[in-house]
């Protein structure tokens, strides 16, 4: 019989403890989603619900808010944001990484500055601008502020710098235009970076409450986190069971996506160079 070394046991125990701490709220959320209102407000804290109330809570979550609309809005907004971010960032990062032009240094400074400015700083002017353009309560107002992501530019820039210059020279000699190089050489080889960026972008915008709360007041344009706000019924008190059930539903797509593509995600994040 082989004995497991003590160091490994300690490491495993520490990691398990860490994982448990991170998972605890989620586990508690699952538990709460299965409790009745009275169970939730008892003074005793139990993980296993006394009466299994899952079906009722999920039914309420699905009926009280237009869950399908919320999820669809989430997919649409995240999809559009991601699409435009990549569309803008890839050519921009390519130019900054591989072309020689005078403004490159200045652009690099601007990108760095952009990384330092949070959305909260620019929220008010943006809100006023959208209001003047009568674009509040629209997909445009949800998507437009995020289409140019300096983070994406920065990330792709690092990735493209590692791409061999000769590859681009060969493409030029083969007769490709600069846009052709981006479409035919850069993009097909940038998947690891795009995947890695997709995680950051989709997770951030799927879970974002701040910006939708500012520009959207109509349920038709509400994103999933905003939809959760509708469970806060002022007169009846908060319906925590249904709220937790709804939260489970809206976090489910991300959890499933991660479990399915876990390997690729980790690859994407660790992948920094391109091997020819």
């Amino acid at each position: 019989m082989t004995s497991i070394p003590a160091g490994r046991i300690i490491r495993f125990a520490l990691l398990s403890l860490g994982a448990l701490m991170i998972l605890a709220p989620y586990i508690f959320m699952i538990s709460t989603a299965g409790k009745t209102q009275s169970d939730i407000f008892t003074s005793s804290l139990s993980l296993i619900p006394e009466h299994f109330y899952f079906a009722e809570n999920f039914a309420k979550a699905l009926s009280k808010v237009p869950m399908a609309t919320l999820l669809w809005n989430g997919v649409l907004v995240c999809g559009m944001i991601f699409f435009f971010q990549v569309l803008v960032a890839i050519p921009c990062a390519y130019a900054m990484a591989k072309l020689k032009f005078r403004a490159a240094r200045l652009m690099m400074v601007l990108v760095m500055l952009g990384l330092l400015v949070p959305i909260h700083a620019t929220a008010l002017p943006l809100y006023v601008a959208f209001d003047r353009m009568s674009l509040l309560n629209s997909y445009t107002s949800l998507v437009a502020p995020f289409t140019i992501s300096v983070f994406a530019i920065f990330m792709f820039l690092q990735f493209f710098r590692a791409m061999p210059d000769d590859l681009i020279h060969a493409a030029r000699l083969d007769g490709m235009s600069e846009l052709g190089i981006v479409a035919r050489v850069i993009v097909p080889n940038a998947w690891p970076a795009v995947t890695a960026f997709a995680i950051f972008s989709v997770v951030a915008h799927w879970n974002d409450l701040y910006w939708p709360l500012i520009v959207v007041s109509k349920q038709a344009y509400a994103t999933p986190p905003l939809g959760l706000m509708y469970f806060r019924a002022a007169e009846a008190g908060d319906d925590y069971g249904a709220l937790m059930a709804a939260t489970l539903i809206i976090t489910l797509p991300l959890v499933v996506a991660f479990l399915f593509a876990q390997k690729r995600f980790v690859e994407g994040i660790t992948m920094t160079g391109l091997k020819g």
Binding site: P164, A170, A171, L173, G175, G276
Partner: protein, 385 residues
């Protein structure tokens, strides 16, 4: 009219001159090797030629046409890169097809989906496929066409890169150290193949390498470039036997040429009993005497030649290289001997070092070759002695 001619190319990076007025002509069907130590500007020259970089001044003509305003893609110059630069996401066949697709298909015909339903594109695509197969057969890579670069060996990738460059029948062929990533055995084999391919296709080729043996063995003419200056452009025999500059003499030849300081006085150069009459006027003073190791003879008895001592003997199979130190001056002189000549030699023993004066070359203080009365006929003689 030359297939390619360069006129006074200058290039500097941040005040550092990389090319100093380089002029060069490549004749139709010629194979020219551009050789020099790393950082001498040869790769920069190639990139400027291909249109990937711009010279500060100077002109480039391909077939008599000025290329200064022509984009890289329109110069019809093909290049093989040291790293091969194959598209990693495409198969070998697709890699070879790229330059043809870019040339023969219109912008709309290249579009995915839309392009595949446009009239006329099908025939073009079949033509491209046929040409790719043909090229692959010539290079014996037809069995690799469905593999991606990541699944191929270095030698196979190098062939695919060659095929991609040759498939569109360029007017000039540039190669940037295409063999330096191959292992030694494969390299010698690939040399022969590239020369053979060049002979068959007849495309004028400029081949950049830092390996002087590669340059001498492959090229019709060798251009030696050192420190951004093109020092000599001549057939391999002339480069070796009749170098125009001390740096050329030093760079070419293995083991390196012996350079010994000597004195020029009244039109004669003298060194320890060697007297050479100079054909041109030179101010009295220090010059350099160059003599190839194969023209140094050793006499074990020590009766003839300059007194010296063997520092070290290197046995190389077909030859023995002896490093000798001269007693009088302390200079190291290297001798290349046939094994039977070296039979009686051992390290540490005193020997007589015989420099064949008719094979000695004289270089002026700034490195330029000075003609001497006896060295002049060396040009006509064969390389072996």
């Amino acid at each position: 009219m030359s297939a390619l001619s360069l006129r006074g190319l200058n290039k500097s990076f941040g005040g550092n001159a990389v090319l100093n007025g380089v002029s060069l002509d490549v004749e139709a069907g010629e194979f020219i090797a551009l050789v020099g130590p790393s950082g001498c500007g040869k790769s920069t020259l190639l990139r400027i030629l291909a249109g990937l970089d711009h010279a500060d001044s100077g002109e480039i003509f391909v077939g008599g046409r000025d290329m200064s305003a022509v984009a890289a893609a329109d110069r019809n110059i093909a290049m093989v890169f040291q790293s091969y630069a194959l598209y990693p996401h495409l198969t070998a066949g697709q890699n070879i097809a790229v330059p043809l697709a870019m040339k023969r298909l219109s912008r709309t015909q290249r579009l995915p989906l839309v392009g595949s339903i446009l009239p006329g594109q099908k025939e073009i695509r079949t033509g491209i496929l046929r040409d790719v197969r043909e090229m692959a057969t010539v290079l014996k890579i037809d069995h690799l066409l469905d593999r991606k670069p990541g699944q191929m060996s270095g030698g196979q990738r190098q062939r695919v890169a060659l095929a991609r460059a040759m498939v569109r029948h360029p007017s000039i062929f540039l190669m940037d150290e295409p063999l330096s990533n191959l292992d030694a055995n494969l390299r010698v084999h690939a040399r022969g193949e590239i020369v053979e391919l060049h002979r068959r296709a007849g495309v004028p080729t400029l081949y950049v390498t830092h390996d002087q043996a590669e340059a001498l063995s492959m090229a019709d003419r060798v251009a030696v470039m050192i420190g951004g200056n093109l020092l000599q452009l001549a057939p391999p025999e002339a480069i070796y036997n009749d170098p125009a500059h001390i740096e050329v003499a030093r760079f070419v030849g293995q083991p390196r040429i012996n350079i010994i300081p000597a004195l020029a006085e009244d039109g004669r150069v003298s060194f320890e009993g060697i007297r050479l009459a100079l054909l041109e006027k030179v101010a009295n003073g220090q010059v350099s005497l160059g003599i190839r190791p194969e023209f140094v003879k050793l006499s074990p008895s020590g009766r003839s030649g300059l007194g010296g001592r063997i520092d070290r003997l290197e046995f190389l199979g077909s030859e023995v290289v002896a490093h000798c130190r001269l007693d009088a001056t302390g200079d190291i002189v290297i001798a290349k001997l046939a094994p039977h000549e070296a039979r009686d030699l051992i390290a540490g023993m005193p020997v007589g070092v015989l420099l064949l004066p008719e094979r000695a070359m004289v270089f002026g203080p700034e490195g330029r070759r000075l003609r001497t009365a006896s060295a002049a006929p060396a040009r006509q003689e064969p390389a072996y002695v």
